[in-house]
Amino acid sequence: MIWNPSVECMDRESMRKLQSERLRKVVERVYNNCEPYRKRMEEAGVTPEDINSIDDIVKLPFTSKKDLRDYYPFGLLSAPKEEIIRIHASSGTTGKPIVVGYTKNDIANWNEAGARCLSAFGLGKQDVIQVAYGYGLFTGGLGAHGACETIGAITIPISAGNTEKQMLMMHDLQATALACTPSYALYLAESLEKSGLKDKMNLKVGIFGAEPWTEQMRKEIETKLGIKAYDIYGLTEISGPGVGHECECQCGTHICEDLFFPEIIDPETGERLPDGSVGELVFTTLTKEGMPLIRFRTRDLTRLIYDKCECGRTSVRMEKIMGRSDDMLIIRGVNVFPSQVEAVLCEVEEFEPHFFITVDRVNNTDTFDIKVEVKEQYYTDEISGMVKLQKKLAARLQSVIGLQPNIILAEPRSMERSQGKAKRALDKRKLQ
């Protein structure tokens, strides 16, 4: 179902007009109300009068995660504090968290975006949705919650963790949809298998996001839980879950581009790249009041597709994120993305898709260890059998990454199943 056809199926020219109009407004807002923006625009020699259409966006300076830290907590607000009604934050990996303030309208627009997502997943009033994202400063819980209430579904605000209780509620209330991180969905699936409750569930749809996942992981979740698993996309800085979503065609993530305008740039030069190029994703919030972000650099690498989708939506689609420039590990001169390791693990039958990468430097050489779990039925009682598995995986990874890792075998279910964003690598070279 399409929640808001007038926007989601709008012809491209009308969309450009709407985006142009909104960009003018938001640029005026930040210029007039937010000192750091005004300063930076002055430095770049651009004023709100220079912004006449969405194409003029390239004249505007970028913002980055660093700006959110530098102006922590309220320095980037473009609305008076009296209008802010909610704060969300993400814990930065280093130093201060990132704080985002929302006005009443911001929350309403976020709920609207979330409603479009859930409708695209086929959910509506008739559904019972268990929200197992963490509630609190993290945008996942309250974001999904607002979306569920907006479409009129029964919302179970259970939050993250407590797997026993999750299973009990899911069963007793016959939840039809589950919203959580994909890695927690896998953990839940395993727990359900063990509990014997699996066949007594009524789950049909998974609303998964907040961390990168692969097609193979999707297949595994779908098989283990017997559901259709959809990706919901969001970033704390721009808006939580709801910035984009898949549709029934599952051919990319539709961006709610009347609210969040995406661009692809060359991460080195900052140049806008032609349609269809792979590069760094940049977002401008077109309607935000509390803390609009202009040309925010996400560090996510992807591609945008402008063809009309078979689902009927005309909104631009984003391909699966191919990696984050932040996550990238440079090991012995080779670029390694944790997502590559995950993809290989999902392909090699004998292994679980959980892993942890440790990179260190010993005698001036980078070490590259990957700890993995063998599926229970593939453990053997012979050292040689286990070594064979290690070698098989190492060879497969070598062919994909171009680098031979040291495989460390872990005991079954000993690796941490993430309940928030999965921490999948430790670079000890940075600690030295």
Partner: protein
């Protein structure tokens, strides 16, 4: 003729062997023989216990990777050369030993072997009047 052996995968961290022993002790299961095969990364504990099925179940519940394997437990006496004679007889028929370990029960020395062809090994050992334990 065959004996069920329990094998447990152990990550190379200190104390995992103790953890296994503790789980078995708490379930009232005796270990009659064990060996640990390891390389630098991980180890495999092989153990003969009083109740293999129950041992498997309690260890699985505690999250261990456990397998049951058929092995042969042989009473070989204490005289030098008995073991060699047995292995030689098996090798002559192209039966090879994947792994083995020894243990003693009172006066008697015993050995656990895992041949690549267990049925053939049993035939040969029986023909040579080797005594099986249990």
């Amino acid at each position: 003729m065959t004996t069920l052996q329990l094998s447990v995968f152990l990550e190379n961290k200190t104390g995992r062997l103790n953890d296994v022993a503790k789980v078995l002790a708490e379930a009232g299961i005796n270990m009659t023989a064990f060996s640990v095969a390891d390389n630098s990364d991980f180890g495999i504990l092989r153990v003969l216990v009083s109740d293999p099925e129950k041992a498997k179940q309690v260890l699985k519940e505690k999250g261990f990777a456990v397998k049951l394997t058929n092995v042969l437990a042989l009473r070989i006496g204490n005289s030098a050369g008995t073991l060699y004679t047995i292995l030689d007889k098996l090798a002559a028929e192209k039966v090879y030993i994947e792994y083995m370990y020894a243990f003693s029960e009172g006066e008697q020395a015993s050995v656990v072997i895992r041949p690549n062809n267990i049925d053939q090994a049993i035939e040969i050992l029986k023909a040579n009047k080797i005594e099986f334990v249990g």
